[in-house]
């Protein structure tokens, strides 16, 4: 969106307002752009469906996901058990539906924590510059130097295996990406005309950062988050797969695949359905993220 020329002259408040209207208008057209691309439209629809399933899981499932029914263990898919049953006779369909909850919850918490911490550090580093920037960015580099998954495993193991700890562990390895992203954005923004104007008008540093710089970082953060949802779900499932995440008998996709792999030859449905759920969720959010990036990023604008 181009900023109306008048706004440039209207001082910081006017420029700010123009930016905001621009953003609002852009939000509307963004949705249009995402939907215009069939792939990202599929992603959006699937993501919405997943969110709906997570919210309405108790209303949708035919069986309680935890109730043991040993007489009906390891049944193949059938009209009564569309995805079959597991080694304790629990309905895999119900468990897969319930599995959207920990996955989406984990993605929300992980990205929430990572983006908040990363944004704060990125803002401080980018705006202050100098030694503070050096210190914070070297710290960030330290975290980035480790393979993310190995670091998350180590952190989860150190905290003790539980779903909550696994989320924290993943957030610990995730924030540096946001810190770098935001810092880069800040470095670019702090020399913008409207920031200078705000400074000249006597705005405090705090006000400049919170009112003028931060709002203009949202777009890249949101794009990054939408791209990360799928990976966060996958990482969480991976930690659960090796026993560091969700604890039994919680219906979590990664944990289900881990147990189910011993049954891969005789009861392939056991691991196939939670596996496909992971696949669908990761794909949905990646498609959506790609679509958002394409729609929002000027570089990719068609």
């Amino acid at each position: 969106m181009t900023t109306p020329p008048m706004a440039q002259l209207a001082g910081p408040a006017g420029a700010e307002a123009a930016f905001r209207t621009g953003r609002r208008r852009r939000a509307v057209t963004t949705a249009g752009r995402v939907l215009a691309n069939p792939l990202s439209a599929i992603g959006l629809v699937l993501a919405l469906v997943l969110i709906l399933i997570a919210l309405a899981a108790p209303l949708l499932v035919p069986y309680d996901p935890l109730t043991i029914d040993a007489a009906n263990r390891l049944l193949p898919p059938s009209p009564t058990h569309p995805f079959g049953t597991d080694e304790a006779g629990r309905d895999i369909f119900s468990r897969v539906l319930y599995g959207t909850r920990p996955s989406l919850l984990a993605a929300t918490v992980i990205l929430g924590l990572a983006s908040v911490v990363g944004t704060v550090i990125g803002l401080v580093a980018g705006f202050r510059g100098g030694r503070v920037d050096e210190l914070l960015m070297r710290l960030t580099d330290m975290f980035l130097a480790f393979p993310a998954l190995v670091l998350a495993m180590g952190a989860a193991a150190a905290l003790g295996p539980s779903f909550f700890n696994a989320m924290i562990a993943i957030a610990i390895v995730w924030w540096p990406w946001y810190a770098r992203l935001v810092r880069g954005q800040v470095l670019h923004l702090k020399h913008e005309l409207f920031v200078d104007a705000a400074r000249v008008a006597g705005a405090s540093e705090r006000r400049i950062v919170l009112r003028h710089i931060l709002p203009n970082c949202w777009t890249p953060i949101i794009v990054q988050m939408s791209l990360d949802v799928g990976y966060a779900i996958l990482t969480m499932a991976s930690l659960s797969f090796i026993g560091l995440g969700a604890q039994p008998p919680a219906p979590e996709w990664g944990a289900m695949v881990a147990v189910g792999r011993d049954y891969i030859l005789d009861q392939p449905w056991y691991v196939a359905f939670p596996g496909m759920a992971i696949f669908v969720a990761v794909m949905a959010f990646n498609l959506l993220g790609d679509g958002l990036q394409e729609a929002l990023s000027p570089r990719w604008r068609r």
Partner: protein, 564 residues
């Protein structure tokens, strides 16, 4: 008593009386891989083994693969790694498989029984007071390095074991004197009778008879050649170690000078291959690539039952499975609460449904096929009404408390048992939280009296043919914490006195009466939940002949006796 002096800490490392676990490898890939492979497999539910990404492409006919079909080579796939080649220093569950190819005990268990028969000792005598053991060593046996076997060599082996203070050293504590009145006679003098003394020379955890020359030649800094023997083996046994790569494979070839001779059918070579993915291991057996597969999860074994060319044993084991309860802390410190929990578990669902009838409910702490088992021991049956009444009596009318159930990775049955326990306890109003831990974290948590306050799944198999092995290790006050495996911190002085008295009683009838009383007490106190005993299910190619299962030698083989 014996166990008090020597801790069984060594056992904790590898899995102990605890059945050796399959440490789950931690690959990331399978999440993705399984998704892809299974999307394919799901489309064709009649899964052909070749469709999976991990396993070797299995041919439908059990022919063609090397090794497993060569009648002169026995190939065993093991799902869990051996820890050390030195049989004197470890109590882990995986290494004895290798030890038994090269090392032999002085005496041995006959067939599948707890009865002892001659081996390296051609005969032995125990004095009526149970204080003197006289072994007559079989003449004409040499170690594979040419050293002759005599009483002095056995004495040296006992001295090594005692000096190292590891493995079963604690069971040798009553020995006060070792004499060799003539080259082929060994006389042990004891300070007190002990009904596990003979077992210390018979089991797979035993005094290993290692060549004294090898020990002397390779000793370094007073270590009794520990460093060298960790990677080398010099015994009297039927096979020689040809090569060994930890976590990969061990290869044994015939010892041409074996004292029993090589008449009749025997294997030329024995190969142990370590395979870390149950499905791969299963496919190797199905494809005929290996002859025997050990350390497989039970459901994987059940999946092999009835497959062409494969037999699965179905014989009673000496494995006993429990849910330990915190006797010292929380609501479960009240005996009535523990009894209520014991009445609240649905044993039949577990044994008949989940384990498919291959198990039966336990009757007390000992397996029903084991020496000293008292058939009159009381048993808790599934009775939620009675359980609720007992809870109410103890002041927990609607339960209302939380119990944490911890289990360690690698013991496949502990998770589903915990889930059933959780589900059953929910009916009583008791909330059970399940947590999976690494084996070391699990053992560390429970063996520390400060942190132990958990229910936990535990399996015990005996190293000695005596009830003392079970009763002391799991329930004696002296075996609490790191001193043993009493991680439910049960303590009953009357029980402690009984088992010590029984162990030192020479007369079998009187001894068994005392064992029976001890079993009754520990069940009456509901020291733990006595859940089940299980048949040993070992899958092997049907051409493997002459396998006789003995619960004390579990997951090991008398290689010399096997053939095709």
């Amino acid at each position: 008593m014996r166990y008090v002096n020597g801790t069984r800490a060594g056992k904790q490392g590898g899995g102990s009386g605890e059945r050796a676990g399959r440490p789950r490898p931690a690959p990331w890939l399978p999440v993705v891989l399984a998704t892809v492979a299974l999307a394919a497999a799901a489309c064709a539910p009649a899964a052909s083994p070749g469709a999976t990404a991990t396993g070797p492409a299995a041919t439908p006919t059990p022919t063609g693969a090397a090794g497993g079909n060569d009648a002169s080579v026995l190939v065993i796939a093991s799902g869990a790694d051996a820890v050390t080649l030195d049989p004197g220093v470890s109590f882990d569950g995986q290494s004895p498989l290798l030890w038994r190819a090269v090392y032999e005990p002085l005496v041995r268990y006959k067939g599948g029984t707890t009865e002892v028969e001659p081996n390296l000792a051609e005969s032995w005598q125990v004095s009526p007071d149970g204080l003197t053991y006289t072994f007559k060593i079989h003449a004409g046996i040499t170690f594979s390095d040419g050293e002759p076997l005599d009483a002095a060599a056995v004495k040296f082996a006992i001295e090594r074991q005692t000096a190292l203070g590891q493995g079963i050293a604690y069971a040798l504590a009553p020995i006060t004197d070792i004499a060799t009145p003539d080259p082929m006679t060994l006389v042990l003098t004891l300070s007190a009778p002990s009904d596990s003394m003979l077992s210390a020379f018979a089991g797979m955890y035993t005094v290993p008879i290692i060549s004294p020359k090898a020990i002397r030649d390779h000793e370094a800094g007073g270590d009794w050649a520990q460093a060298w023997l960790r990677e080398n083996m010099v015994g009297t046994g039927p096979y020689l170690l040809e090569s060994y790569t930890q976590s990969e494979q061990a290869v044994f070839t015939r010892n041409p000078n074996y004292w029993r001779g090589w008449d009749g059918p025997h294997y030329e070579r024995v190969v142990v291959r370590y395979v870390h993915e149950p499905t791969t291991e299963r496919l190797m057996l199905e494809g005929g690539e290996v002859d025997i597969a050990i350390f497989l999860p039970d459901d994987v074994v059940e999946g092999l039952d009835g497959k062409p060319g494969i037999t699965v044993t179905n014989v009673p084991s000496f494995n006993q499975y429990y849910i330990g309860l915190p006797n010292q802390k929380g609501p479960t410190a009240d005996k009535r609460v523990r009894q209520a929990i014991s009445y609240g578990l649905d044993y039949r669902t577990w044994t008949d449904e989940i384990l498919g009838g291959k198990a039966t409910q336990a009757r007390g702490p000992l397996p029903s096929t084991f020496v000293g088992f008292a058939p009159e021991t009381p048993q808790y049956t599934y009775d939620p009404t009675k359980a609720k009444a007992l809870l109410a009596e103890a002041g927990y009318a609607d339960g209302g408390f939380t119990l944490k159930y911890v289990f360690e990775s690698g013991y496949w049955w502990k998770r589903p048992l915990g889930e059933l326990f959780q589900s059953n306890m929910k009916d009583l109003g008791i909330a059970v939280e399940i947590q999976e831990l690494s084996p070391s974290a699990w053992a560390g948590l429970l063996s520390n009296p400060e942190t132990a306050e958990h229910a936990y799944g535990v399996v015990w198999w005996p190293s000695f043919a005596t009830p003392y092995d079970f009763l002391f290790s799991l329930f004696a006050t002296g075996a609490q914490g790191t001193a043993g495996y009493n991680w439910g911190y049960y303590s009953n002085p009357e029980f402690d006195a009984l088992i010590d008295q029984a162990s030192a009683t020479v007369d079998a009838t009187g001894r068994n009466r005392l064992w029976a009383e001890a079993q009754r007490i520990v069940v009456e106190d509901a020291a733990s939940v006595f859940v089940y005993e299980k048949n040993y299910r070992l899958p092997m190619r049907d051409h493997v002949q002459n396998f006789v299962f003995n619960g004390i030698y579990i997951e090991t083989f008398s290689f010399y006796d096997l053939h095709e």
